[in-house]
Amino acid sequence: MTVQELPGAAAAYPAFTLRTDPAPLLPDTEPYRVLGLGTDSPLDPALMRRLYEGLVRGRRYNAQATALTKQGRLAVYPSSTGQEACEIAAALVLQEQDWLFPSYRDTLAAVARGLDPVEALTLLRGDWHTGYDPREHRIAPLCTPLATQLPHAVGLAHAARLAGDDVVALAMVGDGGTSEGDFHEALNFAAVWQAPVVFLVQNNGFAISVPLAKQTAAPSLAHKAVGYGMPGRLVDGNDAAAVHEVLGEAMRLARSGGGPTLVEAVTYRMEAHTNADDATRYRGDAEVEAWRAHDPVDLLERELTGRGLLDEETIRTVREGAETMAADLRARMNADPVLDPMELFAHVYAEQTSQLREQAAMLRDELEAGAGR
């Protein structure tokens, strides 16, 4: 018997019980917040310091990467400026053995997890599709086809659980991505399999030019969780402490066999979709400015300073560290990558087919002829 229970001997119709109680799955009506509330519930100073450093460096990283597009050093850059609280919290909440499944906007999360920033930017520089070994870093390739990485996260988490390994997968997707069929299928598989996976939706208000109102009529994106039988959580995506806490709880639930959680982080994309986009076509300055007042870096800095968890000295050190990182990134990205066109044929199959060998030979001849000229 599944949903439909057997009719009792006396009953004229089959007894019915909900598979799960929906009440605890429903998100709160307000995003969860920690910072800027004027309360003084304790914060972990070490964690806050790590978050703060991550946010400052992250902001700098975004600025540097955007600058690199202008210098022609990156083909394109989808900036996460304004969303650094989500990016950094997502990275910091992971344990060594956990897996991150980033979307194309999440190079910052990958870098914050420890990936070399140049390797993280390989895709966007254009010398190859993925610049790192996903297994070495437990970071899946940055994913461009929207929401397609979500079933991967579920499958990997499921496989790890079957193996008895202590691994949780954290998968990132945008508000627009929640409309894709793959989002639905991934969440459903995760819930049915009780896979140890956490879905983080960064609701930054837009999918390129399309505002959330044209994307969904749901009370919130977190409410989608109910339809899969998993808990939905709503969090202020500019509040790094809150995002870390909510994600941390979801990770613990997953790790302890409690299955998946859907987390919606409400945030805002401060810059255009990418450097190639013109955001003035679809949104006004007033909206952007209003969000600037809720900047994730400022918010955390204010709170930590107010609480005495951050002093001028530390702020300066952190900022200097960020500048060094940026200078280093700039320098390394200014060097032309060394490319071998013959690599085009190297990884299509485990072993080159005779057809690819022929084609490789043709290109080699062309290259040699060209070099000879």
Binding site: A75, V76, Y104, L123, L124, R125, G126, D127, W128, H129, T144, P145, L146, G176, G177, S179, E180, G181, D182, A207, I208, S209, V210, K214, Q215, T216, D277, R281, Y282, P337, L339, P341, E343, L344, F345, V348, T353, Q355, L356, Q359, L363, E366
Partner: protein, 332 residues
């Protein structure tokens, strides 16, 4: 082309001509609706639908939720009700989520219903490479569509054809996959809107006597350039622009090959299993005894589309076309 049209000709890009085609079709026929991701307020990421939402309202040019199967699937329903939807898939690889709707419904609905329910849907796909796009932004997916009976498959190569063929496609009672060569979006010509040869007709873009280059879409300019360069080697190349892969214009293509006796098929799509195989095979079936050499193919390599910094090695260029022409057994 009428004299009046010629007189009014002004410089226009292919993107503008495409926009104009939708605009004119929407103005003439209230059943024409445009839908897709970012096609409204933004005017599309390539600006091909620029101004349509403003002129015709968001109900006629609609920003949809981000779900390609949903876009094409709802377009099917709209067409069932009598509308003529023009759907934009943002990039070639992002049409794949809509594959089931395309293959199992769009292509088959007329046939399933004994002709009772045709689906006049145009699926616009910005396609192909050469624009430095990161992965999944440069696929040439025409082989998938060609292999699917019930679809027409069209690819313009000129500004005039961009307009004329898109108007034709919107007027067509069959579903049309309309492949817009991304790297030609900003190509320019002096042009004013005018009708062109119908879908299903190839056009000889350059006459020649030595050999025929059979091509379409983004590779047409490459072949024309190759034909110019070939003069130096003493080859007078004919260039046939297929314009539509389905229906295929056997007549024009074979007439050319019978005249020249030699042919090279040129396209950007991967070679193995790509359009060139079909084209070479059918030309050979029909013109075997006119052929001095096997029909050769110049195509993209059989690899996933390369990253931006390597794409130039992949794309069939003038040199590769000329190399193929040189292999057409001239000594024989």
């Amino acid at each position: 082309m009428t004299a009046a049209a010629t007189l009014a000709a002004k410089p226009a890009t292919m993107a503008q001509a495409l926009q104009r085609a939708m605009r004119d079709a929407m103005a003439e026929d209230a059943r024409v609706h445009v839908l897709g991701e970012d096609v409204g307020t933004l005017g599309g990421v390539f600006r091909v639908t620029d101004g349509l939402a403003k002129e015709f309202g968001e109900d006629r040019c609609t920003d949809t939720p981000l779900a390609e199967a949903g876009i094409l699937g709802t377009a099917v329903g709209m067409a069932m009700y009598g509308l003529r939807p023009v759907v934009e898939m943002q990039f070639d690889a992002f049409a794949y989520p809509a594959f089931e709707q395309l293959i199992s419904h769009v292509a088959k609905m007329r046939n399933r219903t004994r002709g009772a329910m045709p689906l006049p849907i145009v699926v616009r796909v910005p396609y192909g490479g050469g624009i430095g796009g990161v992965e999944h932004h440069s696929d040439s997916s025409e082989a998938y569509y060609m292999a699917t009976p019930g679809l027409k498959v069209v690819a313009p190569a000129t500004v005039a054809d961009a307009y004329g063929l898109l108007r034709e496609a919107i007027d067509c009672d069959d579903p049309v996959v309309f492949l817009e060569p991304k790297r030609l979006y900003w190509s320019k010509a002096d042009w004013s809107p005018h009708p062109v040869e119908p879908i299903g007709r190839a056009v000889v873009r350059r006459t020649g006597r030595s050999a025929t280059l059979i091509t379409y879409g983004p590779s047409v300019p490459v072949c024309l350039e190759a034909a110019e360069a070939a003069k130096e080697e003493g080859w007078d190349l004919e260039v046939v622009d297929l314009r539509s892969l389905v229906p295929f214009d056997d007549e024009t293509v074979c007439a050319s090959v019978r005249r020249t006796g030699r042919a090279v098929v040129v396209h950007e799509s991967t070679g193995f299993g790509g359009p060139g195989g079909e084209i070479a095979a059918r030309v050979t079936e029909r013109c075997f005894h006119h052929l001095e050499a096997p029909v050769l193919r110049v195509a993209g390599f059989d690899i996933p589309y390369p990253p931006p910094m390597l794409e130039r090695h992949h794309l069939p260029g003038v040199d590769r076309v000329l190399d193929a022409v040189a292999r057409l057994q001239w000594e024989a």
